[in-house]
Symmetry: C2
Subunit: 384 residues, 2 copies
């Protein structure tokens, strides 16, 4: 199987290393024969090309790995490759979350495969596990720590007693966070991953604009200390739940008991959980990002395509509506303004701040409550 890689950054070079350098029996007949990169990198390796047509028009290439990231030109390149009857494997969550159904349609029309395990959960076999579980079970819900950067920040704040800004800077120095960290800390990364996971778990097209996504940037060292004194810990969570033909989904900080698994996830690791009717609760833990774990997930997809392994076609045919009154949950709000409202259960004062716990209320009511808060620095979280 001849493979081309689009993009030769961290993930692309990881795929190249695994496919061309690891001595595994399964990989013997796989070879990276072309890599698309910028003209200034042309001399790095003799298989680098700079024109996508050198790949799409090359009939010897069976499969294309897309690791460029972003929506454009990744979208056009993926479509172009599928239309040229090449299997496509990608780690690009943004383009998959936005265009999954287009890609699946193109792949089907052209008799090839489109796979994206590495887009969500990095090296954790998460999407395959959803697909596998669904052969028998209905998946009623899933949730988890889908972002390693924010987990690294929260874990450093908790274990090293650091302020948010200090922990973020360290994450940037280690290459876990971008110079502009918004995609991680404001939740767009997790939003993409929840969208992809929910589409697979619930067999339905999910529009990420429908469900709420709250930033974790307002979590302070004091918040973590406050929760610690209550034997709790805050983590940044993506979650989705289905009831009949409706669903709810969130990206938001969530409060866990300090002896829960989630509260104890260290460093930049991820943990994701699914619930099925016969399998019960399954959790998967591992590196949700990084060169070799992510490249490993891509190569697992390549091998599944090569060996025609499939846990069933991805279908997005079910009509599922977003509904913000399915769940009734308790929330925690930390703000410097007192709130008076029928939904408030208890208030604790800490210095200039109020830690306000709500009664179990619907998302609809919670959104009204949030919109009534003028404090731009307010921290909001859901209780697990």
């Amino acid at each position: 199987m001849n493979i081309a890689i689009l993009g030769f950054g961290t993930i692309g070079s990881g795929v190249y290393e695994i496919v061309n350098q690891i001595q595994a029996e399964e990989l013997k007949d796989c070879k990276v024969t072309k890599i698309l990169d910028l003209p200034q990198n042309k001399d790095k390796l003799d298989i680098i090309v700079c024109d996508i047509n050198d790949i799409t028009e090359d009939e010897s290439i069976d499969l294309v790995v897309e690791t460029m990231g972003g929506i454009h030109p990744a979208y056009e390149f993926i479509q172009n490759c599928l239309q040229h009857k090449k299997h496509v494997v990608t780690a690009n969550k943004a383009v998959v979350a936005a265009h999954m159904s287009d890609f699946l349609k193109s792949a089907k029309e052209n008799g090839v495969q489109f796979r994206f395990e590495a887009s969500t959960g990095g090296g954790i076999p998460w999407l395959a596990s959803i697909q596998k579980a669904k052969r028998i079970d209905e998946i009623s819900s899933f949730y988890g720590i889908f972002n390693g950067t924010t987990n690294y920040i929260l874990d450093s704040m908790n274990t090293l007693n650091e302020e948010f800004e200090t922990a973020l800077k360290k994450a940037q120095q280690l290459g876990y966070a971008e110079a502009n960290p918004s995609a991680d800390i404001d939740g767009y990364d997790v939003q993409n991953k929840v969208t992809i996971s929910a589409a697979l778990a619930f067999d339905s097209k999910i529009d990420m604009k429908d469900f709420p996504c709250f930033s974790m940037a307002n979590i302070t060292y004091e918040d973590i200390q406050y929760l610690k004194s209550h034997h709790q810990m805050i983590k940044y969570i993506g979650q989705a739940i289905k009831k009949e033909n409706m669903y709810e989904a969130f990206v938001m900080p969530m409060v866990f008991a300090s002896n829960s698994l989630e509260a104890n996830i260290p460093s930049n690791f991820n943990i994701v959980t699914l619930n099925g009717n016969t399998i019960g609760e399954l959790k998967f833990y591992g590196q949700g990002a990084g060169k070799l774990p992510t490249a490993n997930a891509i190569v697992e997809d390549i091998l599944d395509i090569k060996n025609q392994i499939s846990y069933g076609k991805v279908s997005l045919d079910k009509k599922l509506s977003y509904c913000n009154t399915l769940l009734k949950e308790k929330y925690l709000i930390r703000t410097n303004c007192p709130i008076e409202n029928e939904w408030i259960d208890s208030v604790e004062c800490k210095g200039a701040n109020y830690y306000i716990t709500t009664k179990a209320i619907s998302t609809k009511d919670f959104m009204k409550l949030v919109n009534s808060i003028s404090d731009q620095k307010a921290m909001i979280a859901k209780y697990m």
Copy 2:
């Protein structure tokens, strides 16, 4: 695909329920058509037969699920079914650990499949994950909580402040532990599961008589309190590690930091971890036993056979020798007799007991140390 089930206890009836009653697309062409049970149960269901030949001689049966447990007559029945060119799926860890290579040989000779996901980790997709990871990575080690009964006991001792005997009795009342709990608390159950996991992970026949298996029955409420005061928790662990053509394996209590995932595994859940060179550390958590989770794992095997899904043939061809000097680890011993020895690092007195921590020593030296202890109630554990 017509399926016969051998044994109609908890697991067998779970498989029957899932295959014949769950409305999943994938299961539409699967049907349980015969169940082998005792003559006194003949009238329970009209598909019950009492003679194995009614199944082996029935050409309409494609696959046999063995859920009887124990070595005999499970061994003979499995071989008989394979020789009659029927695929076999089993949850029976004892017979798989003892005779895996015979079964794989018979299956190969007869052009059928032999699968045993449910034998280890119950509903957790553990063996499939080992097989999948191995397509790319060398698995250097694995460890985990492989037994839900003992985890339930330790968790109750820790969170409900119960004595060992009280927790064990509750586990028996809940059906987690047998009337004779030895297979769980003395480690034979975990020994089987480590043997099966190591064979798959390391591609080698593993003889469970080679590696040490320590009981957890000597762990007391006082031990748990002592460890709690050191921010630690004890769990009952199976572990194996490979270096070149040698391996070490253990079944024994292990001491974990209280903020580790293992320390926080609740109730009767399992967690198992593998380490690969590119994927890093992967952990899998779920129900390691119980009717529907175990039956789910069996049905996943059935569907993999039906859909010809395989992560590669199981080969036990590599020659791997047990070696008790690969690892150097620290151990904890609680005993009422003082020990004087060059390997001792520190001793703490608590009432009539000494809590003795060793230096990092080989298993060989540790075994010498253990054999020198006359206290039959001594508790021994390895530090993680």
